[in-house]
Symmetry: C2
Subunit: 487 residues, 2 copies
């Protein structure tokens, strides 16, 4: 296998995993690990209901969407039911991966903007020159050629794409801890109080980049085809944009004739606890659990994407992803006369896994669990932050949490090697698997299976504290030899 496919913990010994159940993974030596990072096994590793759904359907029939099967239509309708109530998000395309989903979303946006503008549709690179996609710095949207173009995270990782491609405009990541418009709020955030006014101000500043791109593109006679963003940015290190940022961006993009594509591949299906989708996330002072499906914001302010993409957790590990859009956008695509066929997508077996995942999510009330355990984790990390020099920021919602480690809470110097050490220590000594992300590889990203319990969280917190407060100071001299843990 190619060396481009990186293996976790390759510095201290890769994991040879053999079994999984719930929040645990077991290696070939029988050692059991607590999993704080796998957001694909959404309702837990090898959940019996998922296993049984796949087993049954694999015996019965595995075929494609050229034939009608109740699993695909049922799953499509269940997906539509999960969309915001006021939306027209009613048309579903099944695909195999988040990358395929975002790739198709870009095709849909292109079809929409062309129908709207009655542009000539040469489909060529030159013909597309005047259609722009706006993407956010440090975002990752997939590994296909088209989705790489809109993934600044990958542009920064190597030299495959040195500069932002010509048809893509990149705006700064709306990071209120470390970004350009975060400085003024830093002290307030360190005291861990959400401050509505300063957050709103940051939102305004960050959104102004999108507004300016829209103006600049349209004033040149060109068109904005889409603004593509994760409601909660994952590889950027758990960045939830400040309140009103999305609203402002979407308004600007809509005004310019473009679409808002909400990438929910990492964050969808209740991970944030408070809401089913990250684009619905709203800040509040007391973590009100009732803000689901936009109830908290007025209808006028409710965020409604034009296209939503889902993936990773959808099939609990089975390759299953989807694009949900409106009849208007689907019609624009259909009117081009090109059949959409995807061999494996929407097959009865993958859809059986998706249906079982959604059933367990509801029957075991895992969104509530994510909120409950997530709040416990957030509060505990914030308490730890007060007595630990390294914890610069604790952020997120539900079971989507980022703990950013810094060497200095004023300069915010990233504690990259320390973060890598803590993760290696957690794996080696405490048998806990974690994930590192963020622009400086210094954010521990907690995104475990949604069955992560208070007991799991308690164990994790206690080991994390030991690694950070006891192990790290005694090992500081050797840090240089450890290298970084691939995320």
């Amino acid at each position: 296998m190619s060396k481009s496919i990186s293996v976790s913990y390759s510095n201290t010994g890769p994991l040879h995993l053999r079994r999984g159940f719930g929040t645990h993974l077991i290696d070939e030596a029988g050692i059991q690990y607590l999993d704080t990072r796998n957001n694909v096994a959404h309702v837990g590793h090898c959940h019996p209901e998922i296993v049984s759904a796949i087993t049954y359907q694999t015996q019965m029939l595995q075929t494609n969407t050229r034939y009608v099967h109740p699993h695909s239509s049922l799953l499509a309708s269940k997906l539509v039911e999960l969309m915001p109530r006021n939306s027209e998000l009613k048309v579903v395309f099944f695909v195999n991966s988040g990358s395929e989903a975002n790739d198709l979303a870009l095709r849909l946006a292109r079809a929409h903007v062309r129908q709207r503008r009655k542009l000539s549709t040469t489909g060529s690179a030159d013909g597309n020159r005047n259609e722009f996609v706006i993407t956010v710095d440090h975002a990752y949207h997939g590994h296909t050629i088209s989705t790489l173009d809109v993934s600044p995270y990958k542009h920064r990782q190597g030299t495959e794409i040195d500069n932002c491609p010509n048809h893509v405009r990149m705006v700064p990541c709306p990071d209120v801890y470390r970004g350009e418009h975060a400085t003024r709020h830093r002290m307030k955030r360190q005291r861990q109080q959400w401050h509505r006014e300063s957050d709103m101000e940051a939102a305004k500043q960050y959104a102004s980049y999108v507004e300016r791109e829209c103006e600049s593109i349209t004033s040149d006679g060109d068109v904005v085809s889409a603004f593509l963003m994760e409601g909660g940015m994952s590889v950027a290190g758990v960045i939830l944009p400040p309140q009103t940022y999305l609203r402002r961006c979407i308004d600007a993009v809509h005004k310019a004739g473009g679409l808002y594509i909400a990438d929910e591949v990492q964050t969808g299906f209740g991970r944030l606890g408070k809401c089913m989708w990250a684009f619905q996330y709203t800040y509040d002072d007391n973590n009100n659990p009732d803000c689901n499906n936009g109830d908290v914001e007025t209808e006028m302010n409710e965020i409604i994407p034009d296209i939503v993409t889902v993936g990773k957790p959808f099939g609990n590990g089975m390759p299953l992803a989807a694009v949900i859009t409106t009849p208007t956008i689907a019609n624009a695509f259909e009117s081009l006369g090109v059949e959409y066929f995807n061999t494996f997508a929407g097959s009865p077996v993958c859809c059986a896994a998706g249906l079982a995942m959604l059933h367990v999510l509801t029957s075991e009330r895992l969104q509530e669990n994510a909120l409950h355990v997530g709040n416990f984790l957030l509060n505990s990390f914030r308490e730890l932050q007060l007595r630990c020099e390294y914890i610069g920021d604790v952020r997120g919602s539900g079971l989507f949490i980022g703990v950013e480690l810094v060497r200095d809470k004023v300069t915010l110097e990233p504690a990259t090697e320390e973060t890598s050490f803590v993760c290696s220590m957690l794996k080696e000594k405490f048998k806990i698997l974690t994930s590192v992300d963020g622009a400086h590889d210094n954010v521990i990203v907690i995104k475990p299976p949604m069955v992560f319990s208070i007991e799991d969280a308690t164990l994790f917190l206690s080991c994390f504290e030991k690694a950070l407060v006891i192990e790290l100071p005694t090992a500081k001299d050797d840090l240089g030899n450890l290298g970084r843990t691939p995320t």
Copy 2:
């Protein structure tokens, strides 16, 4: 679900399938259909060994390639073993679909050509302007934005892409029955004797387009990044290029510094009976079964691709595909420093399905079965051709056969409506599922599960003859009302 996702037999009543086994599918009313078209359920629908492998592994562990699992390394090495013995095709990337495989193959070719030419790597549309991919008319290589660009079949289907994109050069389909350089051979082919000299002449003529494109591109100071072709073109209507065509094309492309990407998504894993991969196919007068792995041609003439993509049959229905390339090309990609991570690809469950598929393929000697039953079908169709006015051409190899229906064996006027009628009749009256493809929707493409038996073939042939010789003439007046069967 979007109306762009077309359903088979929507004119006469879509199929609501519920079960599958071997070469049979059963609908919700319990009606059993013979399946002559599903090349994904390679070793048969719901093969017990595949079911059992998936069931076991789903219970044990489903995770990603950041951890080491013996299934993925074993499957990668088995795939490498199936490559031509003299090749350096030793590096594997797992992906989820044929589309993802061809998309990644294009990335690899881009990395290779840039390393070779030390080009600046802007990755932008404009920066790519001088890197060309050569593709064949009527080819289909996938539904992602990059693979659509190289799929003339889709360019012709609608208005999403009106012209061949600027970075793509299209050459004519090497069709020796209907293409530009087929006329002189028509009478000989109608007598169904393969004629080495005329075929070689056609190969020379068709390959000259590729040679000329290579010359034109390089003489402008631009570069050829890849020549992408299926060894057996499927949606083009079972086009096996004439002898020496591939050799000539590859030589020209290599001379220009480009790579040959062999798309084996439809034809791989022994479907052609005589060989494991379609790019290895060689014509011979007596269907010699020993020409596997290039033994028949001298080593000098053996076709060795630079990149091979596989998909559809690989997981027998589970989403599983792969790209196989050489260390040199993989190194060029790796040296760009971009990690390749694909969430679902190469997971233990999908690899378990792939391993089981390969085991059944060998243990049940299905490649031999494909050759045996394929020869029986080819000979029987050719016999039928002599007494049936509609059968213009019978072509293919193993269980990859095209039967082209025409209204006139001299003008070759396509019998499009008649083909649609025959397929509808086969489904409605005889409970046999078929597939229609080709530029004029008049080629019945036979690509059943590889367990298709002589008994299945006998039943199919007898029903096909009845539909064509008895039903079609009596229904000719109503043909206009039938519409076309989506393929």
